[in-house]
């Protein structure tokens, strides 16, 4: 059942992503990407990351993509001409992106068992359940503290430093955006 749902949304994600890449206008590209993000959010739920899925919908699809839309409309790029490159570039794209996909698609073959085997190096002892105890602990934690708590705890404890850095990052981005985009400084 889970698998079937997964593949449905996976197909959705691929289809919408393809449309995003191939759509004629910037506006539709942004919209298609939003659709992809929503599909991904569904997949996140399937993969046991409910909170991330929520954030994906709220922040990513909801805020960031709106920002994109806003800019697209600001620049009024709704004209019908396509910005697709010519056939040569098309061919190059197919070759390059295809090769890249082939190389990266090798990851398809990963199952938890294989990963465990590779990490533990001794197949007979590679019990994914014991090796990946951290995953199980998180799931238990989610049951105990709720999905937010399970993520929040490490975020503010272990990942305090990166968290603070993100604040600097955002500050930088704000200052930068203001400096660049303001009509008059």
């Amino acid at each position: 059942m889970t698998e079937a749902v997964f593949y449905v949304f996976a197909a959705c994600a691929v289809a919408t992503a393809s449309m995003c890449v191939l759509s004629r206008s910037a506006m539709s590209a942004v919209l298609w990407l939003t659709a992809t993000m929503l599909s991904l959010a569904a997949l996140y739920v399937l993969l046991g990351a409910e909170f991330v899925a929520a954030i994906q919908v709220l922040v990513y699809a909801g805020a960031v993509m709106v920002l994109f839309l806003f800019v697209v409309m600001l620049l009024n790029l709704g004209h019908p001409t396509t910005d697709m490159r010519g056939p040569a570039a098309m061919a190059a794209t197919v070759v390059i992106a295809g090769l890249l996909a082939i190389q990266l698609f090798a990851l398809w073959s990963y199952s938890p068992d294989r990963l465990a085997a590779e990490i533990a190096q001794a197949p007979e002892f590679s019990d994914p359940a014991s090796l990946f105890a951290a995953g199980q602990a998180t799931r238990d934690d989610a049951v105990a503290r709720g999905v937010v708590g399970a993520v929040a705890a490490p975020l503010f404890e272990v990942y305090l430093v990166p968290f603070e850095i993100t604040s600097i990052l955002l500050l930088t981005a704000i200052v930068g955006a203001v400096v660049l985009a303001k009509r008059k400084i």
Binding site: I96, Q103, A106
Partner: protein, 657 residues
């Protein structure tokens, strides 16, 4: 008597003369008187020293040469080249010839060159020449000899190009130097071989070590002697390096007499005699020496037949006579070669100086009438006997001497050489051929000398009516030396009178200690009795016939003056143009070499290949690649991404094994 230790004085005097005259030459104001005193004076002083040494030696003939070391020149490990003089019988003979004949020629020059603007320079060069010539003959080892050997070449170069404003003269000087250098290459190579094989370059040590250290008749000694002989062909103008000598007549005539007849050109003969042990050990080389000498003697004599320039005739005659000397030393008659060297110095110097005297007179005559005729062309002369009798008679004596008419000096020396060659024929029949060549050359010698005398002094005067009144005998300062040389040409033979003439080969005996080492390997047993007399008779006959023929051939036909003369044709032209050897050398060696250097090596290899293709080419290729890279940088982000991804694909590919 002056002891041998003072031999350096003989060198020091001319050296001082060179310095003084050189300093005077650099002054703007001419110092004719001072030069006239210093120039010949130092030579006379040197001659006095030489005489002293000679008499010292005469009183007490040494078995070992007296060594006079000056200073250590190139001490490197076991090689210790010392600048040293060696006084022995051979070097003393040469010393006397050089300083003696040199003195006479210096004196003659005072008259001959007095009016030249380069008078001081001339004497400086001449003095320097004597210095080097003495170093050459006195040097106790090959490197010291080589200083002199090259030094005389240098002075010859400077004196040939003395009137350097004429390109032909400067060319001739350069040609002489370079041809000599080719020969010097041989001497150097011989030195290297000797050093490797015997570990010494001292003449005395060579003579002592060679018999044990080298295989007689072996390849190495043959090679050494061949290299040495290459040097001799250069210096003594033998085939194939003879062409510079006729050109060298571009120098002042006394120079021709001193350097290109009496002394320098005989250095090759001296060298062979000095290293006689090596040549005696190498019969093949000796045969080659004799052969080259014989061929040169005949070959040069044929050219001399059709020359009109009086000095050119004498020049080819010199080449020819040098050939005789080599025939002699090549026949193991080392003393005989030296004998002819000495007598030749007398009569050839006399001939040249006489010619100088003639040219001097002709030149003055033409100068007086502002004529631009050639003062050296015999076709413009004729009948000079009336105007310059002293010169005529003295030159006639010399002609008889060179033609081998007894009892003049040349008769004895030439006869001894021919006899030696004939004698060697018993061992190596090829020497009979050489003998025949020598005899033929003797005939031709007599012929062209008679022609010279006849054209110059006899018959009608062709110089022109106006000029005729300006023809005078030379002043005493010039005729005086001529007279002395004339006497020597007559009596020179006494130093080595053969037995049949009542002598006992004095020179040969005198040189015995020097030639002994060689004599151990090759000794000439001169024919005795009837054979000897037959040979002598034949030679004399040949000489006489030649003279007669030459005289008649010249005087029976009318000789037109140079400007009216018809162009030579046929064989005469070939002879007149010296068999076109110069042209052949030019076309076969000089031009190809210059072409090779300029077109192939310089423009092709240097500028084209190395600089163009490799050096600038690599720079250009680099810039080309850079330009290409720059073009790829189109400014289009798409292109950048493509390159980025190509790199990414490569890295990921490397990661998936």
């Amino acid at each position: 008597m002056i002891a041998s230790q003072w031999v350096w004085l003989a060198v020091a005097f001319p050296l001082a003369g060179f310095l003084v005259n050189g300093a005077l030459a650099l002054r703007r104001a001419p110092a004719t008187t001072a030069v006239s005193i210093v120039g010949p004076g130092v030579l006379l002083a040197a001659f006095a020293v030489s005489l002293g040494i000679f008499f010292g030696l005469l009183r007490d003939p040494p078995h070992q040469p007296h060594m006079v070391p000056l200073w250590s020149w190139m001490p490197v490990g076991s090689l210790d080249v010392t600048l040293a003089f060696q006084v022995d019988q051979l070097s003393t003979v040469m010393l006397l010839v050089v300083t003696g004949v040199g003195s006479l020629i210096h004196l003659f020059s005072v008259g001959y060159m007095r009016e030249d603007p380069g008078y001081a320079r001339y004497f400086a060069y001449l003095n320097l020449f004597v210095v080097f010539m003495l170093v050459l003959v006195l040097g106790s080892n090959l490197p010291t000899l080589f200083i002199g050997w090259e030094g005389v070449g240098l002075c010859s170069y400077l004196l040939i190009g003395f009137w350097f404003s004429e390109k032909a003269n400067a060319d001739a000087g350069k040609k002489a130097f370079i041809m000599n250098r080719i020969g010097d290459f041989g001497v150097l190579a011989a030195m290297f071989l000797l050093w490797r094989e015997l570990g010494t370059l001292e003449f005395a040590d060579i003579a002592a070590r060679a018999p044990a250290g080298l295989a007689p008749g072996g390849a190495i000694v043959t090679l050494i002697t061949l290299f040495l002989f290459l040097g001799c062909t250069g210096k003594s103008a033998q085939i194939p390096l003879y062409t510079w000598l006729p050109d060298a007549m571009a120098g002042p005539t006394p120079v021709s007499a001193l350097i290109h007849a009496a002394t320098m050109v005989t250095a090759g003969v001296y060298l062979v005699a000095r290293t006689n042990v090596l040549f005696a050990m190498a019969p093949l080389s000796s045969a080659l020496v004799a052969g080259v000498g014989a061929v040169t003697a005949l070959f040069a004599a044929t050219i001399a037949l059709r020359q009109y320039d009086i000095k050119k005739v004498l020049a080819y005659s010199t080449v020819s006579q040098l050939g005789y000397m080599f025939l002699g030393v090549g026949s193991a008659a080392f003393a005989g070669g030296i004998f002819h060297l000495v007598t030749h110095a007398f009569f050839k110097a006399l001939l040249f100086l006489g010619a100088g005297s003639v040219i001097h007179a002709m030149h003055h005559a033409y100068h007086a009438t502002h004529s631009h005729e050639d003062a050296q062309d015999m076709r413009n002369m004729g009948g000079l006997r009336q105007h310059m009798p002293v010169t005529f008679w003295l030159m006639t004596i010399a002609t008889l001497a060179i033609a081998g008419i007894p009892p003049f000096s040349g008769f004895f020396s030439k006869d001894e050489i021919l006899a030696s060659a004939f004698a060697r024929g018993a061992e190596m029949p090829v020497y009979y051929v050489f003998y025949a060549f020598g005899l033929a050359a003797a005939l031709l010698t007599a012929f062209y000398m008679a022609r010279l005398i006849a054209m110059t002094f006899l018959g009608d005067n062709r110089s022109g009516a106006e000029e005729r009144r300006h023809l005078y005998e030379a002043p005493w300062i010039m005729t005086g030396p001529l007279l002395v040389l004339g006497i020597l040409s007559v009596i020179g033979g006494v130093i080595n009178l053969p037995v049949f003439a009542g002598g006992h080969h004095a020179l040969e005996g005198w040189l015995e200690p020097v030639t002994a080492a060689g004599a151990a390997f090759a000794r000439v047993e001169l024919p005795h009795g009837s054979t000897e007399l037959a040979l002598v008779g034949g030679a004399v006959l040949v000489g006489a016939v030649g003279l007669l023929l030459g005289y008649r051939a010249t005087l029976t036909r009318k000789t037109p003056p140079a400007r009216e003369a018809p162009a030579d044709t046929g064989l005469a032209l070939v002879l007149n143009r010296k068999y076109y050897v110069d042209e052949i050398y030019d076309a076969a060696v000089v031009r190809p070499l210059v072409w090779l250097s300029r077109v192939v090596l310089w423009k092709g290899v240097d500028q084209g290949l190395i600089d163009g293709a490799a050096v600038n080419g690599s720079a250009r290729v680099s810039r080309g690649f850079g330009w290409l890279g720059s073009r790829l940088q189109t400014g289009q982000v798409g292109v950048y991404v493509v390159f980025f991804l190509v790199g990414a694909l490569w890295i990921l590919r490397a990661m998936i094994r």
